[in-house]
Amino acid sequence: MSIQITLDGRPVSTQAGANLVDVAAEHGVYIPTLCYLKGKPCLGTCRICSVSVNGRIAAACTVSVSDGMIVAVDEPALADMRKALIEMLFIEGNHNCPSCEKSGRCDLQAVGYDVGMLVPRFPYRFTPHQREVGAERIWLERDRCIFCQRCVDYIHDQHSGQKIFTIKGRGSNARIEIDKTLADQMSAEQVREAAELCPVGCIIEKGVGFNRPIGERKFEIKSVRQRALEDDV
């Protein structure tokens, strides 16, 4: 059913029930995302797509549009709030872009650039994280995990359907875990899919990093904003 919403003060026609992130992109408005993947079930974990919906803050990826909805994205206070959320992700982990193999292909880095983050306004926590290196082909660099849960919800054992990745612990004790037995049964393609799916450099395929030359990496060819607006994620 065709409906009309107001997007940054502009009347926009769209279909009822469509995802707000997608609707905004279709009409030239970029909403940054990290956990959201078009066509996949919404996770709503990272919150960096926070916008104003009918005067209240909501994560855009969790919003299905309805007739008469009033959405604000491009407002200074909202932009600053999204930037602050990204800064919190940076200070919570230990992100060292210069030697990270995901640099240039990392969603967090790309979004950080897009929102103009230079330094975080919050102090770094320098939380120690143990790496998980026991699986044959997958390395978990927990310093970089942002708990988006993409791997938890989208990667399953191809035979049993069981989850391969899980989050254990709560709050500041939460950590990403991998079922090493199931991980070692993953096909090469699925290992690659998991590494690609990870929006940061937490899930990495052992021994193959840095294989893409500088200048040819995903976000060096096309920015995260361009990709979102052109539906080329």
């Binding site: 030697s99 026991g134 193959v208």
Partner: protein, 488 residues
């Protein structure tokens, strides 16, 4: 009353060091030391990281010779995955040449930086010229055409590094078993033919020759000073190929004495059998030495002077002609004149440019087969890489668990190899320029720094900020009390 002079920090070197000079009651120098006062800890912090990350992380040690660290790490990783050790598992020719191209480009730009920005000011203005003149801005005033050529040379080297490694600084090209990118015809032609704002390779070689000519002119005018400044006998060490000539990327380690007799020659994988390291409470930098000879006799010199002492020939015509003259000057014996390091460096600038020209004309650069990935059974879990960095022989040694995490890292960098010899140089200059003098001048202290810079030519902007030379000299009495201070 005895007293102590302190130069802190030593300037126009990369990193942080200070010099102390101990004087007795008659102002005679009784001791002089270079203290390295910074602690980096890279060997520890890389532990636990994935092995394939090492060349990217460890190249961050240096902002000047990062390509050397990157390649050294890559060579160690080649070893680790079994490339280069098995009979038929070798790095493919294209990737090796691409690595060499980046390596020579870095040597060119690093040497140009060291030679023209850090050394030439003293050559043109003298060691005791005012600090506000004795820097690259002084050069701009004196000879703007020369500085323009130097800037163009550095730019050319940096552009070539960017083409090979993706970035002007801390790029990424080498991965275990090869490289991630080849060099296209278009990229190659930019450097062969030049373009607006970028020299051609022939212009680079021409400018490089002018650099050597500058040294000849200076030498002609100041022969006594150049030849007698810090004459420090030492063993010389570098990588050599099967013919016994220097190879900047790969080879065996050769060490020669003053008479150019081979003292030791070995596969660098055996370095732990031959080298040990001494430590001193007054410096974070270790003192490597040959076990067989002990610390005093077994410390080596590395870098341009050592390489040109060791090598019999250079493989390119202009550099070879210059080398003949260099060798003839000491009648076949090793050259121990510290300031002749700058002569050697000027020759190596030409040699690098000529090597680059030969490589740019090599079609292997356009090869598309870039990686040699052996079977998992070839995994050794340990790797050692050695290259000749601009400042000398550089070694990286890693071990990793089967799970991929680095469990051990050992780096012996060129400046560490030179530690003992630099200290001898400091002592020599202190004796010649300071001992017995009633008044210590700024120029005398600069002479100490000139001796150090000959070995460690990394860029330090600090001294080139006009009127802000961060050199502080404190005079201590025997009880350690400051009795006088001199600030630049």
């Amino acid at each position: 009353m005895s007293r102590k002079l302190v130069i802190d920090p030593v300037t126009r070197i990369e990193g942080h060091g200070k010099v102390t000079i101990q004087l007795d009651d008659d102002n005679q120098v009784t001791d002089a030391k270079l203290h390295v006062v910074e602690f980096r800890g890279f060997e520890k912090l890389v532990q636990g990281h994935p092995y394939w990350e090492a060349p990217m992380l460890l190249q961050r040690i240096c902002g000047i010779c990062f390509v050397s660290h990157h390649l050294c790490g890559a060579k160690a990783l080649d070893d680790m995955i079994g490339v280069g050790l098995g009979q038929h598992i070798r790095l493919l020719p294209g990737p090796e040449k691409i690595r060499r191209l980046g390596h020579y480009a870095q040597q060119l730009q690093s040497h140009v930086t060291a030679y023209f920005y850090l050394v030439v000011p003293e050559m043109l203005f003298g060691m005791d010229a005012p600090p506000e003149q004795r820097n690259v801005l002084g050069l701009v005033e004196q000879d703007p055409a020369l500085v323009k050529r130097v800037v163009a040379l550095r730019k050319w080297g940096q552009e070539l590094i960017k083409t090979v490694l993706g970035k002007r600084m801390h790029g990424i090209s080498s991965v275990p078993g090869g490289v991630s990118k080849n060099i296209s015809i278009e990229e190659r032609d930019r450097f062969l033919q030049g373009e607006e704002g970028l020299l051609s390779i022939d212009e680079v070689i021409e400018y490089a020759q002018e650099g050597l000519e500058l040294f000849y002119q200076f030498h002609e005018q100041h022969r006594e000073q150049v030849d007698q400044f810090a004459v420090v006998p030492a063993l010389d060490m570098c990588l050599v190929n099967d013919e016994g000539n220097v190879d900047y990327y790969h080879g065996r380690i050769r060490i020669i004495d003053e008479h150019k007799h081979i003292v030791q020659e070995f596969d660098y994988h055996d370095y732990l059998q031959h080298f040990s390291e001494a430590t001193e409470a007054w410096s974070y930098m270790k003192f490597p030495y040959l076990k067989a000879l002990g610390r005093e006799k077994g410390s080596v010199r590395v870098g341009p002077l050592a390489r040109l002492n060791v090598t019999k020939t250079l493989s390119t015509p202009l550099a070879e002609a210059a080398l003949k003259k260099f060798h003839a000057y000491t009648n076949g014996r090793s050259n121990n004149m510290t300031l002749h390091t700058n002569w050697a460096r000027a020759i190596e600038i030409i040699h690098s440019a000529e090597l680059i020209k030969a490589l740019l004309n090599d079609t292997d650069l356009q090869n598309t087969e870039l990686l040699m990935i052996p079977a998992d059974t070839a995994w050794t879990g340990e790797g050692i890489g050695v290259v000749e960095a601009p400042r000398g022989t550089l070694l990286h040694h890693y071990r990793a668990a089967k799970t991929g995490d680095i469990t051990f890292a050992n780096l012996i960098v060129s400046t560490t190899q030179n530690n003992q010899v630099i200290n001898r140089t400091v002592q020599s200059v202190a004796q010649d320029y300071i001992s017995g003098k009633a008044e210590i001048t700024e120029g005398m202290l600069n002479a100490i720094e000139v001796g150090i810079r000959a070995y460690d030519p990394c860029l330090s902007c600090a001294t080139h900020a006009l009127g802000q030379m961060p050199l502080k000299i404190s005079v201590f009495d025997a009880r350690g009390n400051i009795i006088d201070e001199l600030c630049r």
